[in-house]
């Protein structure tokens, strides 16, 4: 479903020259799986997911989603995915219903199918009471629900969630995690980035730990635990990062 090979992204930065945001990472995720991308802030999670959602272009390497190349077949890729991140906001001057309908139509849904899907999504996310509420009047939780509705209304095979629980209270975050788990059970391929270990532990089937643009470790959660002899994910995470920083300083 998602295949990433040696993906690289450079930025030119005034102060530091070439800045490597993503440094040759490779992983894959298949349907019915949640792939957790774990890393501290600025590790390159958002850049990776932006490349997967075709918003950014990779500098090197290759990534395909459902067989389509993110660089050369961006249009087809966008039709296969639902993308939601802390940076994808909700329109202020549109109601929940209008917003979801707009994106559903952009995905080519029309007529009865559109209506059916919309009703289904609103029912499932319990959004019927905010149907006619303008985006500017919504709480963070409501906005997040609208964003989820927007990204799943066209029933895409691949879902990309970038720090989806950022800024949410415990109740809303928990509801969101449940929804993501449900989507996985429906056979979606989900890639989920976070820096909260508890979320990853609870939700993800496979995990990739990313730091300074590099993928430090990658595999099924249980395999990782076994390999590194560390059951607690948080400890595992710290160990890997400290080890990496130590080697970098040593070689430098």
């Amino acid at each position: 479903m998602i295949q990433v090979d040696g993906l690289t992204k450079h930025y030119s930065d005034l102060r530091r020259g070439q800045l490597i945001a993503v440094d040759g990472i490779s992983f894959h995720a298949s349907e019915g799986q949640i792939y957790g991308l774990l890393g501290p802030n600025g590790a390159g999670k958002t850049t990776t997911l932006r490349i997967l959602s075709t918003v950014l272009r990779p500098t090197g390497g290759r990534a395909t989603i459902n067989g389509y190349d993110v660089l050369t077949q961006a249009a087809q890729v966008r039709r296969q995915i639902g993308f939601m991140s802390a940076n994808t906001a909700v329109y202020d001057r549109m109601t929940a219903w209008e917003m979801v309908e707009y994106f559903a139509r952009l995905h080519g849904l029309e007529g009865d199918l559109l209506r059916e899907r919309m009703e289904g999504v609103f029912e499932r996310l319990q959004m019927n009471e905010i149907r006619d509420l303008l985006g500017s009047k919504m709480s963070t939780g409501m906005k997040q629900k609208v964003s989820i509705a927007r990204s799943i209304v066209h029933d895409p095979p691949v879902l990309i969630f970038d720090e989806a629980t950022a800024g949410l209270d415990v109740l809303v975050a928990r509801a969101l995690l449940n929804t993501v788990a449900e989507l996985r059970d429906q056979g979606k391929c989900i890639i989920y980035s976070t820096h909260i270990m508890r979320e990853a532990e609870k939700l993800c089937d496979r995990i990739g730990i990313i730091h300074h643009g590099k993928l430090l470790a990658e595999g099924m959660l249980d395999d990782l635990r076994e390999q590194h002899g560390e059951h607690d994910l948080e400890e595992l995470f710290f160990k890997l990062i400290l080890h990496h920083d130590a080697t970098v300083t040593a070689t430098a």
């Binding site: 950014l56 389509y68 995915i81």
Partner: protein
């Protein structure tokens, strides 16, 4: 591009804008309120202005008292000297004392009066010399005595000498003060009428009919009055500018909200990750902005027209613009709005926030205002040169149409529409490009630091120039050439030596210095930049050089024919004629060839097909790079006729350079092409006699030109040669390869989405 997506985006953006109170206020409420309010305040102010009397200081009034035709009655100017007697009160007279104070001279009084006018105590002063009344009387008596001796054989000069000089009263006022100017105008009118009356009285005293002094009375007939077109001139100047300004304002605010605003609110990324294509997003937004721009312009004009109509109702002399004018305005509004909308969209895409977006309005206005107002200056008329200036040409065309010169307007409609559409296209492309650049869409605020930026550009330079550097080089060369042209004024008599000198300086200053500097600063691999590195030499290169020479030879008849057609359409200017005459009379053909064919060809090829084309090819579009390079190359020739030809030739050379991957074939083509033109100037009837072969180069009328069979043969052979070039395997840039991969990727059909039930 899917139009259903464009329509969806358009519908959403329009609804979004209509829900925005600020936009609605700018577009609908402001114009509806603005003009009536403006009209009302104007009305109030003008009423206030009209009623205002001005103060006049009168010196020596007693000497101006003349029997029969009094100037002053009851301490005021005589009512009969005004258009309507009720205007008498507008000039409030204050009299200087008739008797001088002890120790005071008349000069003191006058200089004091001047001071008082300057300080604003009085708006103006009138000074009658002390002997004024007396001299006036003498003058009349003298002219009466002249009548008696009318029959004498005295010479006219002697007769004139006998008449004493007419004394002159003086009006003291200052143009620095508007009120003083108004007073001057009022005074001037009164005194002129009075002097007319005096003149008539003198004439009748001398036994002549009063009309003798003015045998020719002029009658005027303003056709505009009769045809009900009065005020056309006013509308023709006012309406196009208003249209332009409001179209720009109306485009700007929605553009900022739709781009910078969306970036700020974080909804742009949502949209970008949807299946909507970048071009669909841009077109959807563009049409939205256009709609609002047009609506703003139309509502403003209607509101202004209505208020104007109410005011004008009192002045029947100024008619309303005709329906036809309104039609032309509406028609012109479409391309104007499209152009401004695309410009605003691209600028707004560049902005990181609405606040930054607002800052861009001022520079945009500063560029557009002079272009819009320029055509208002008298004497600025629609002609070929002016019809090529963007924005200004539309205003001019509209002005000409509104003045009723439809034929004149239609003659230049083609260049105006062409230039406007080209600008629209470029602006839209710019906007789409902005949306395709992630560095623009995801720009992060960085401290502005010019030094840091320059260091970055130089430190992180690539083997060949970037698109931005290439465009800057093109603009830099144009600027330098412009300043050279302004500072170097040719002598009246063009000498060959001067020509060579200016040519060499131009090549050095305009082409060599900027290009060498930019190459050293901004590229790592000059050889690759100039298409002269190892990979550019292939076994086909010598063949390509030969083919290029052949191409230049066979295309020459075609180019000459087109050039003749161009000069026929747009005749050469005097300087250009002078230039070609000097070339014709040049002493030595070889020197001429060296300086007019070889030197410019080599320099320009390094600059244009080397530096600029190599840079522009990083845009990923081969043809766009060739065309833009050619346009830069063409514009740098500065003379319209030459520019057109150079642009055409530039495309051929650009194509040769890209296909052969080497600079030499292009240089060969350029040298041969220039050389043939130079050689042609040497063909005279005498040379044809000596070399009968040269007859082929003459169209038989003695004019330089080719027989049409040669032109057709040349064209066909040229096409064949270009066909050979097209089969060369040319080296693509990474960007071009990517674009190709994307094109191929797009052709793959979508897999149907799985239709699992929710």
């Amino acid at each position: 591009m899917k139009w259903s997506n464009v329509k969806l985006i358009l519908a959403r953006e329009v609804r979004d804008q209509l829900r925005d109170r600020r936009t609605l206020f700018m577009i609908a409420v402001l114009p509806i309120l603005l003009y009536p309010l403006l009209g009302m305040s104007f009305f109030q102010v003008s009423q206030f202005m009209r009623e205002h009397p001005t103060k006049v200081y009168v010196i020596g009034a007693s000497s101006a008292l003349s029997e029969g035709t009094p100037l002053i009655e009851n301490e005021q100017f005589a009512p009969r000297l005004f258009n309507t007697p009720d205007k008498v009160g507008l000039l409030e007279l204050h009299f200087a004392p008739d008797v001088l104070a002890p120790g005071e001279t008349l000069d003191d009084v006058v200089s004091q009066a001047k001071k008082r006018v300057e300080q604003g105590e009085f708006d103006a002063a009138v000074y009658f010399p002390p002997s004024f009344g007396e001299q006036l009387r003498q003058f009349r008596e003298a002219s009466e005595s002249q009548t008696i001796h009318r029959g004498d054989e005295e010479s006219a000069a002697a007769r004139n000498a006998a008449i004493p000089r007419i004394p002159r009263p003086e009006i003291i006022f200052t143009t620095a003060n508007e009120k003083s100017q108004i007073t001057f105008a009022r005074l001037h009118d009164v005194l002129r009428r009075w002097s007319d009356e005096l003149g008539k009285a003198n004439l009748s005293a001398a036994g002549l009919v009063p009309s003798a002094a003015r045998p020719v009375e002029l009658a005027t007939d303003d056709l505009a009055d009769a045809t009900g077109n009065a005020g056309r001139g006013l509308w023709a100047k006012l309406l196009p500018v208003m249209l332009l300004l409001w179209a720009l304002t109306g485009a700007f605010y929605p553009a900022v909200d739709l781009c910078a605003g969306e970036k700020e609110r974080g909804t742009l990324e949502t949209l970008l990750s949807s299946p909507a294509d970048r071009s669909e997003i841009v077109i959807g937004k563009l049409v939205t902005i256009m709609l609002f721009s047009m609506a703003t312009a139309i509502l403003n004009l209607i509101s202004m027209g209505f208020t104007g109509w109410l005011i004008v109702a009192n002045h029947p002399s100024v008619g309303l613009p005709s329906w036809l004018s309104c039609f032309w305005l509406l028609l012109a509004l479409i391309p104007i709005s499209a152009l401004f909308s695309a410009l605003c969209l691209a600028l707004a895409a560049l902005a990181r926030s609405t606040k930054e977006g607002q800052y861009y309005l001022m520079p945009l206005m500063l560029i557009c205002m002079p272009l819009a107002v320029l055509p208002m200056t008298p004497g600025f008329e629609l002609n070929l040169g002016n019809s090529l200036i963007p924005v200004a040409n539309v205003v001019l065309l509209l002005r000409t149409l509104l003045e009723g010169n439809t034929l004149q307007a239609l003659r230049y409609a083609v260049p105006v529409v062409g230039v406007t559409l080209a600008c629209c296209y470029l602006a839209i492309r710019w906007a789409v490009d902005q949306f395709n650049q992630e560095s623009v869409l995801f720009r992060e605020s960085e401290r502005l630091d010019l030094g840091l930026w320059l260091r970055h550009v130089i430190r992180d330079r690539r083997p060949t120039p970037t698109v931005g550097v290439a465009v800057s080089a093109g603009i830099l060369m144009l600027l330098v050439r412009f300043f050279m042209a302004v500072t170097m004024t040719p002598p009246d008599e063009l000498s060959f030596g001067f020509l060579i000198r200016s040519l060499v300086t131009t090549q050095v200053a305009v082409v060599i210095v900027p290009i060498v500097l930019m190459t050293l600063l901004f590229t790592r691999n000059p050889a690759k930049t100039f298409l002269l590195d190892r990979s550019s030499w292939k076994w086909t290169t010598p063949l390509a050089v030969l083919a290029a020479i052949a191409l230049a030879v066979v295309l020459h008849p075609v180019i000459v024919t087109v050039a003749l057609a161009v000069t026929h359409l747009y005749p050469m200017s005097e300087t250009a004629e002078l230039l070609s005459k000097t070339i014709k009379e040049a002493p030595n053909l070889w020197v001429l060839l060296l300086f007019f064919a070889v030197v410019p060809a080599v320099c320009e090829e390094f600059a244009y097909r080397g530096f600029i084309l190599s840079g522009l090819r990083h845009s990923g579009k081969k043809w766009r790079a060739i065309v833009v390079t050619s346009v830069f190359f063409g514009v740098s020739h500065f003379m319209l006729q030459q520019s057109l030809m150079a642009t055409l030739s530039g495309m051929v050379i650009g194509y040769i350079a890209v296909q052969s991957g080497n600079l030499l074939p292009g240089i060969a083509y350029h040298v041969v092409n220039n050389g043939l033109f130079v050689a042609m100037t040497r063909i005279t009837p005498k040379t044809i006699e000596e070399w009968p072969v040269l007859q082929w180069f003459s169209d038989g009328v003695g004019q330089a030109g080719y027989h049409w069979t040669i032109v057709i043969t040349g064209l066909l052979t040229g096409v064949l040669l270009l066909g050979w070039f097209s089969r060369l395997p040319y080296q693509k840039t990474n960007e071009e390869r990517l674009q190709e991969a994307i094109r191929r990727g797009m052709e793959v059909d979508d897999k149907p989405l799985p239709s699992t039930a929710m």
